[in-house]
C-alpha cells in the first residue's frame, strides 16, 4: 500500500511513521518545532514528532495543585513558570488531592494563569517524552478548540475562529514566552523556554477527521465516504460533528455532558472515598482507586456504573446511530471505557450497522489523542503549503 492510499490513522496503527517534518517555517520565521495540543476538560493531549520522525503523544489529566514541600525521599516532579509558585500536574497532582482545572470556553480557560502554566508544563513533558533537551524551544502550536468556537465569518462565507477565542489566544498565549523550571524527583532542575511563535486554532473534531480521512500528504484517501458523523465522547462534553466534503461543511452539536456524568454518579456511589471530578474520571479509566493508602480494584463497580448510567449517554448518541445516510466514527476518551465501547457495539448491531461498513470506533491507542495529532498535522500542512 502506498502513502497515497493509506490514511494517517492506518499508518499509525501499522507502526509506520507519517514522514512529516517536525520542524516548520511559517512566513519567513526561523525553524519552529511543530506541536499539537488538545486542551481537554479531562486530559490535555499533546502530540509532536521525535527527532527520528516517529510520532509522540502524551495525555495528562488536566489537574493542577500547588506544590507542597517534600521533606525527604524522592520528590515529585514540580514546575514553576516565569518565576511563579511551584506546582504539580497530572497524576502526581491527582494523588495529592489536586482537582481539575475549571472547564469552559477557550477564552475562559486561557485567561486563567494556572491553566496557562499547566499547558506549558504539559508541553515540557511531551518534549521530554520525545527525547528533546532543556533549552529554548520556539513552537508552532496547533491548538484544538471546541467546535462551536469555529463560526461563519461576517465577511464572505468562510469559517474562522470566533472573535472571543481569537482575542483570548492573542492576549494570553500567542507570541508569549513561558520559562518553565522543572525539578525532577531527584531535585535536579532544568529550564525550558517555550515561545508560542505561531498558533493555528482548529475545530477539535476536524483533527480526528484529518487523521482518519487523509494521507500524510494532506490529500483525502478515497474510501467512498462523503458524509461523516463524528461522535466525540469527551469528559466534559458529548459532541456530534457532521462533516461533508463536497461542498465542505462542518456542523457541530453538543449532545450534553460527557463521561463526567458517569464519574459523578460513581463518586456519589462511593461517598467514603470523597473523590473529586478528576479523581473519579481517572478511577473510571484505571479501574482502581487509592483508599486508606492502598490501591484498590474497583472494576466491578465501574462496570455497574457504565451499565446503568452509560445508557443515558448511549441514548443521546442513538439518533446518529440510527440514521443511515452517514458513516459514524466514535472517538474521544470515552471509548477507552470497555463497558461503554461494548454498549456502543451492541446498540450499533441493533440499529443494523456493521463495524467498518456503517461505523467505526477509533482504536483505544489513539482515541484520546486523535484531535491533538490532527492539530499537529494541520500546522505542518499549513506551513508546508505556504499558508
Amino acid at each position: 500500500m502506498t502513502e497515497m492510499n493509506q490514511t494517517m490513522l492506518e499508518r499509525l496503527l501499522g507502526g509506520i511513521p507519517l514522514g512529516l517534518p517536525g520542524i516548520v517555517r511559517v512566513g519567513g520565521s526561523d525553524d519552529l518545532r511543530a506541536i499539537g495540543v488538545d486542551n481537554g476538560n479531562g486530559h490535555t493531549k499533546v502530540a509532536l514528532f521525535h527527532p527520528d520522525g516517529r510520532l509522540c503523544t502524551l495525555a495528562i489529566p488536566t489537574v493542577y495543585r500547588a506544590a507542597r514541600e517534600i521533606r525527604g525521599g524522592a520528590g515529585i516532579v514540580s514546575y514553576a513558570v516565569n518565576d511563579g509558585s511551584r506546582f504539580w500536574i497530572g497524576t502526581d497532582a491527582l494523588s495529592h488531592d489536586g482537582d481539575a482545572l475549571p472547564i469552559g470556553s477557550t477564552a475562559e480557560r486561557v485567561s486563567d494563569q494556572r491553566h496557562r502554566d499547566f499547558l506549558a508544563a504539559t508541553m515540557v513533558e511531551c518534549l521530554i517524552e520525545a527525547g528533546y533537551s532543556a533549552g529554548i524551544h520556539n513552537l508552532a502550536v496547533g491548538i484544538a478548540i471546541p467546535n462551536d468556537e469555529i463560526v461563519m465569518k461576517k465577511q464572505g462565507d468562510r469559517l474562522g475562529v470566533s472573535r472571543e477565542t481569537r482575542d483570548a489566544l492573542r492576549q494570553s498565549l500567542y507570541g508569549k514566552t513561558f520559562s518553565v523550571r522543572r525539578t525532577d524527583a531527584f531535585g535536579h532542575e532544568t529550564t525550558w523556554v517555550l515561545t508560542y511563535s505561531v498558533m493555528a486554532p482548529q475545530a477539535q473534531s476536524l483533527g480526528t477527521y484529518l487523521v482518519w480521512k487523509n494521507a500524510p500528504n494532506g490529500l483525502a484517501v478515497d474510501n467512498g465516504i462523503e458524509a461523516l458523523t463524528i461522535i466525540d465522547i469527551g469528559t466534559g462534553d458529548l459532541q456530534r460533528t457532521d462533516i461533508d466534503v463536497n461542498p465542505y461543511r462542518l456542523m457541530g452539536e453538543k449532545l450534553g455532558t460527557g463521561t463526567i456524568t458517569m464519574a459523578r454518579h460513581f463518586a456519589r456511589r462511593l461517598p467514603q472515598l470523597r473523590l473529586n471530578d478528576a479523581q473519579a474520571t481517572q478511577a473510571m479509566i484505571t479501574r482502581t482507586v487509592r483508599a486508606e493508602g492502598r490501591r484498590v480494584d474497583i472494576g466491578t463497580q465501574v462496570d455497574a456504573i457504565i451499565a446503568a448510567e452509560g445508557q443515558d449517554l448511549i441514548a443521546r448518541m442513538l439518533p446518529a446511530l440510527q440514521q443511515n445516510s452517514r458513516f459514524v466514527l466514535f472517538t474521544g476518551g470515552g471509548v477507552l471505557l470497555p463497558g461503554l465501547r461494548q454498549a456502543i457495539e451492541e446498540r450499533a448491531a441493533i440499529a443494523g450497522k456493521t463495524a467498518g461498513q456503517g461505523y467505526e470506533i477509533v482504536p483505544a491507542l489513539y482515541a484520546m489523542s486523535l484531535n491533538a495529532i490532527g492539530a499537529l498535522v494541520a500546522v505542518v500542512h499549513s506551513a508546508a503549503s505556504g499558508q
Binding site: N214, G293, S385, Q387
Partner: protein
C-alpha cells in the same frame, strides 16, 4: 501502610563513601536514609534498562527512563571522558570530524505535503492567527 526499605550492609569503606557523598551534596540530601534511597532509585533505573533492552515487560516507560537516565548519566560520561574510558561505540571517528562541513542541526526535511492540503484546512476554518482578519 508504611513501606520500610530493606536494610543493607555497608563496609567501613562504603560508609566513608556515603559520608563523603553527603558532604559534597549537603544541599540535596538530608539524611543517610535519604541519600541511600536516591542512590537506590538511580540504581534501580540503571538495572531496569536491562529488562527494557531485551523486551521484557517492565512497569517503566522506556522513553521516560531514557530521559531520566540521560540526566543521571551525564556526570558519568564526563568522568569516562576524563579518563579516556568512553566506549568505542560512543566515540566519533576522529578523522571524519575535520571533513564534515558545518550544517544546520535540524534542517527542515523536504516538503512532502501536497499544495492542496491547506485548502481543506482553510475551508474548515483552520489558519494561523496572523492570517486571521478582524472579522
Amino acid at each position: 501502610m508504611t513501606t520500610v526499605t530493606k536494610g543493607i550492609r555497608l563496609t567501613d569503606d562504603e560508609q566513608d563513601l556515603l559520608a563523603a557523598i553527603m558532604d559534597a551534596n549537603s544541599l540535596y540530601f538530608r539524611s543517610e536514609s535519604d541519600t541511600l534511597r536516591v542512590a537506590a532509585l538511580i540504581g534501580l533505573r540503571v538495572l531496569a534498562v536491562r529488562g527494557v533492552l531485551v523486551g521484557e515487560p517492565t512497569p517503566v516507560n522506556p522513553a521516560q527512563l531514557a530521559a531520566e537516565l540521560a540526566v543521571e548519566l551525564l556526570p558519568v560520561y564526563e568522568l569516562l571522558a576524563q579518563y579516556d574510558k568512553v566506549p568505542a561505540m560512543l566515540q566519533r571517528p576522529v578523522a571524519a570530524v575535520p571533513a564534515q562541513p558545518a550544517v544546520p542541526i535540524a534542517p527542515p526535511p523536504a516538503p512532502v505535503v501536497a499544495p492542496e492540503a491547506s485548502k481543506t484546512l482553510r475551508a474548515f476554518g483552520t489558519s494561523f492567527l496572523d492570517d486571521e482578519d478582524d472579522d
